[in-house]
């Protein structure tokens, strides 16, 4: 398939360094990232996840080749100052609409499992 052949050579073009990484993510790091992202990952799925991270991070690693001295990190493609407005209420009184899609809403509130013991 064309795309497959292309990908093979593009991989060289991009110098994807799978397997010879500067940074390598292990199972524990993968577990820590999953925890930070609040996504439950089963223990037996962690090695494969770590491998995927390594492939993607290996791809990203080539950014280190670029000389970025003196370059400001881009915040916005069009330089703009955020709009200001009067600090007044412009919207509200829509409790029913706000709660309409909640998985669990009671007495005008979002309901969640007990947070404070």
């Amino acid at each position: 398939m064309d795309l497959h052949r292309f990908a093979q050579s593009a991989k060289r073009w991009f110098q994807v360094a799978t397997g010879v990484l500067l940074m390598s993510i292990d199972k524990d790091t993968a577990a820590r990232v999953a925890k930070l992202a609040r996504i439950k990952v089963e223990e037996d799925a962690l090695p494969a996840l770590a491998q995927e991270f390594n492939t993607i991070l290996g791809f990203i690693e080539q950014l280190n080749e670029v000389d970025v001295d003196g370059v400001e990190p881009m915040t916005s493609v069009t330089p703009m100052r955020l709009k200001r407005r009067e600090d007044v209420v412009t919207d509200g009184s829509q409790q029913d609409k706000v709660l309409a899609n909640a998985p669990d809403a009671r007495e005008g509130f979002f309901a969640v499992p007990k947070v404070v013991e």
Partner: protein, 495 residues
């Protein structure tokens, strides 16, 4: 009149204004086509009753002489746009059952102009994908096939349902969104036109966010003229989106003269890639010849940081996604996991997100979390943002040197088969966006125009990249390319 669904926006508008057809007839024709096209899995939430109601209202308006260009024209809306009272899931299980109480600005503007929404269109989950294979609704299928081979092909992604529906004449046009190529790549794969306008042209309000500094909505249509008509209705300043540009929207259609004499068209040397299929090189060479024959001047240019665009994108987009998708926590909308006895709020978050997000979304959210985490923020995220500034400067330099537009291939290949990339590592799928992603990083307008077919009869497209805010000029250059290419191929109806 039969086959009204096969019309483009401009033709249908002219027939409506001449009183030769009605919006109800157009709408019924599309609804019939949609019902017969279940195999494409393009429309995932159909709204026939709402459509006929809007069509009747449009007919009344047209009879009263109040007919904006989009009035009475049946279109599809990508599932990423929130539509009041109509399910809007962004192709994700985590938004199962979510029915917005509000309407996105873009779809509201289209409705205000009198257009008729036929339903919601399939897409990759949260617009993360290049083949429409990450959708909770299942794959959208391209109407195109490789000759007599009945293998199912991808319509591209993430706006795969939009591309499939427009290409198969299930609607006259559709909305798409583009974060790294999600309008232009599926347009190229299905032989239609797709334009991503300058960042800030279309309001992002009410469009489910993926990567807020890159996301833009745009039209996917059967011709450049149709793209001009629909884009004009979608654009405009919106106080509800702080990044929306306070600029007047020109009459894009009136700018389609087809005259590009003396225009300087840049040909970036970095877009010649080793191993690129010969057919893509040939297509590009043909496009250059067409531009030259139309009186444009071809100029060899360099965009030296091109090769770093994809890796920068795969830091920035996941970082923004990890932040944007934090809102899916099982509290305010969508899915919440069933909890076991003793589960607290952290378990609720973790189980809900594990059940609700698909693998590609989880992968990107976690990559984003990693590059933003303490100790890596500078090394990954800030470095990527610096590289992004350099990529933008590459474009600024060539535009400052007098280049009017840049001509490149739209995709590195024709459409591939559904499932053919599933065994590959994720990075290979990401390469689909190699020619389009630079444009998002620089915030520029880009358009994909179908200009040829490959040896299997599949459509191929070229991309034109324009100066910021000059969509009108870009559309005109695309119009000249479209006229010269004379692309007329259509998929056979097998579905």
């Amino acid at each position: 009149m039969s086959d009204l669904n096969k019309l483009g926006l401009a033709e249908a508008r002219d027939l409506l204004r001449a009183g030769e057809t009605t919006s109800v007839e157009l709408t019924e024709s599309c609804l019939t086509a949609i019902d017969a096209a279940g195999a494409l899995n393009a429309f995932v939430h159909k709204t026939p009753e709402l459509a006929l109601e809007r069509a009747k209202a449009a007919d009344t308006r047209i009879q009263a002489g109040d007919a904006p260009s989009m009035c009475g024209l049946p279109i599809g809306i990508k599932d990423l746009f929130c539509t009041k009272g109509v399910p809007s899931q962004a192709g994700s299980a985590i938004l199962e059952g979510f029915t917005p109480e509000y309407e996105s600005t873009v779809s509201q503007q289209l409705a205000d102009a009198g257009s008729v929404m036929l339903g919601k269109l399939n897409m990759d989950e949260f617009a993360m994908g290049s083949s429409n294979e990450t959708s909770v609704y299942g794959n959208a299928v391209s109407p195109w096939r490789r000759g007599n081979d009945d293998a199912q092909l991808t319509p591209g992604g993430s706006s795969g349902g939009s591309a499939s529906a427009v290409s198969a004449d299930l609607c006259l046009a559709a909305t798409g969104t583009d974060t790294g190529g999600s309008i232009r790549q599926p347009a190229a794969f299905t032989g239609i036109v797709g334009i991503k306008p300058t960042y800030g042209r279309c309001s992002r309000w009410g469009v489910v966010a993926f990567a807020s500094s890159l996301d833009q909505a745009g039209p996917m249509t059967k011709s450049v003229r149709d793209a001009a008509i629909m884009l004009e209705t979608m654009c405009g300043h919106d106080p509800k989106d702080s990044t929306s540009a306070e600029l007047a929207v020109p009459n894009f259609e009136a700018m389609l003269t087809g005259d590009i004499k003396g225009k300087k068209i840049g040909i970036p040397k970095e877009y010649h890639m080793d191993g690129m299929p010969e057919e893509i090189e040939t297509l590009w060479a043909e496009g250059r010849a067409m531009m030259k024959a139309a009186g444009a001047e071809l100029v060899d240019i360099s965009l030296p940081h091109t090769k770093y665009a994809l890796p920068a994108y795969y830091v920035i987009a996941p970082a923004e996604a990890s932040s944007n998708l934090a809102r899916y926590d099982g509290v305010r909308f969508g899915h919440r996991a069933n909890l076991a006895a003793g589960d607290g709020i952290t378990e609720m978050y973790e189980k809900t997100r594990a059940e609700g997000f698909g693998d590609e979304v989880k992968r990107r959210v976690m990559i984003g979390t990693y590059v933003l985490s303490a100790g890596f923020y500078d090394a990954y995220y800030n470095r990527a943002r610096r590289v992004r500034a350099l990529i933008k400067k590459d474009f600024e330099d060539v535009f400052a040197a007098g280049i009017d537009a840049i001509l490149t291939p739209a995709t590195p290949s024709a459409a591939f088969g559904l499932g053919e990339m599933s065994a590959e590592d994720p990075v290979k799928m990401y390469l689909n966006d190699v020619f389009t992603v630079t444009v998002n990083l620089a915030g520029l307008p880009g358009i994909s125009v179908p200009t040829g077919v490959d040896h299997q009869g599949l459509p191929l497209g070229l991309q034109l990249i324009g100066r910021p805010w000059e969509e009108g000029d870009l559309l005109n250059t695309a119009y000249a390319l479209e006229s010269a290419a004379g692309f007329v191929a259509k998929p056979g109806n097998w579905w």
